[in-house]
Amino acid sequence: MRDAWFWLTEATELIRFKPDKQAVWEELSDHIQCRKEALLHDFPELTPEEAEARAVAAMGDPEPLARDLARLHRPWMGYLWRVSQALAVLAAAVLIVGLPAYHFIRGHDGLLSHFAYLVSWEAEDHYPKLGGAELLETVSCHAGDRARPGGYTVSVRRATLERWKSETTAFGTLKLELSIHSWRGESMALPEAVSRVTDDLGTEYIQGSLTPGWVFYSSAEWGDLAPLGQRAALMLFSVPEDAQWVELTFGRGDKTDTLRVDLTGEAEL
């Protein structure tokens, strides 16, 4: 390998980017070995050293070759390639890990309170037993079409009506979990975006009131760009016993839309 080693060293000595230098060395070395094996096959009388010397001679002058190879394998090109690869990996990591993390942190407070609310969704003690009222039944309600007020799409993920009864009165509380998306990637301003809440009996539900009324419970932002969008929880109080549906109006002016929740679902309890 003495002849080949010297020739390869000379042919690759001007390539300064080490990975390229190694790759070119191996490629040229393979060529010399192929030619050497062919010579030994065709001319069995040759010694391995003679065959190698001929194979090296067939490669030509290493000096001009070294200059041509160095021109094609400039170090900055190799380093630039490595840097671009590292930047691509970094950018992918930021997109995969950083963006969701950013949005999680951004909506962290909302998420915690929202989760806390959802955990208590089934709990009986979240609602005061006013006047000694007893929980008669829990009804899973059906929500109708989506509301599309001013670029938002609002749908009901879950609606539960609890029917309560005391010695003097019967009423219901309606818990709503809303899912809100916007094609603009914006979050809906709540509770301001809910302009009116009413039912088929003409009852007007007043925000912050218990008789009858509604409260905005929580809102969690999964981030403006996240596909999960925004979640919100509302609770309606003093829903009349014989009400068939309630209707929520979103938006103001001419950019309003309504969402109807049917209260005649199947009892779970």
Binding site: V24, E27, S29, D30, C34, G60, D61, L65
Partner: protein
């Protein structure tokens, strides 16, 4: 107007050889010798700057593999851009060759 050599330099001949499939350097040299019936012989080392230049121009692609003898080997193949370039150069060479033949025979362009 065709180029003064009709575009038939070593890079074009290498592209033409690779038209029949993926090859490594030594194979390309053998193929050039065989197709030219021994007329075309070159200093074998000079093939590599040509191959690396074609790879840089994205006219050929390269992949590494291991030979039967366990050595690392680079295989070259024509890219779509390489195929197109080869077609252009073939056309250019045909025009050039026709013009030269016409001049040598003292006749007119066919």
């Amino acid at each position: 107007m065709p180029k003064n050599d009709g575009g038939a330099g070593i890079p074009t001949l290498v592209l033409a050889v690779l038209k029949s499939g993926e090859m490594y350097g030594y194979q390309i040299i053998l193929e050039l010798e065989q197709r030219s019936q021994g007329v075309f012989r070159m200093k074998e080392g000079t093939l590599y700057p040509v191959l690396h230049g074609l790879e840089r121009e994205k006219l050929v692609s390269a992949r590494e593999d291991t030979s039967e003898a366990g050595r690392r080997r680079r295989y070259y193949a024509l890219t779509r851009a390489g195929e197109q370039t080869l077609r252009d150069r073939e056309r250019s060479w045909e025009e050039y060759s026709r013009a030269v033949t016409a001049i040598l025979r003292g006749g007119e362009l066919t």
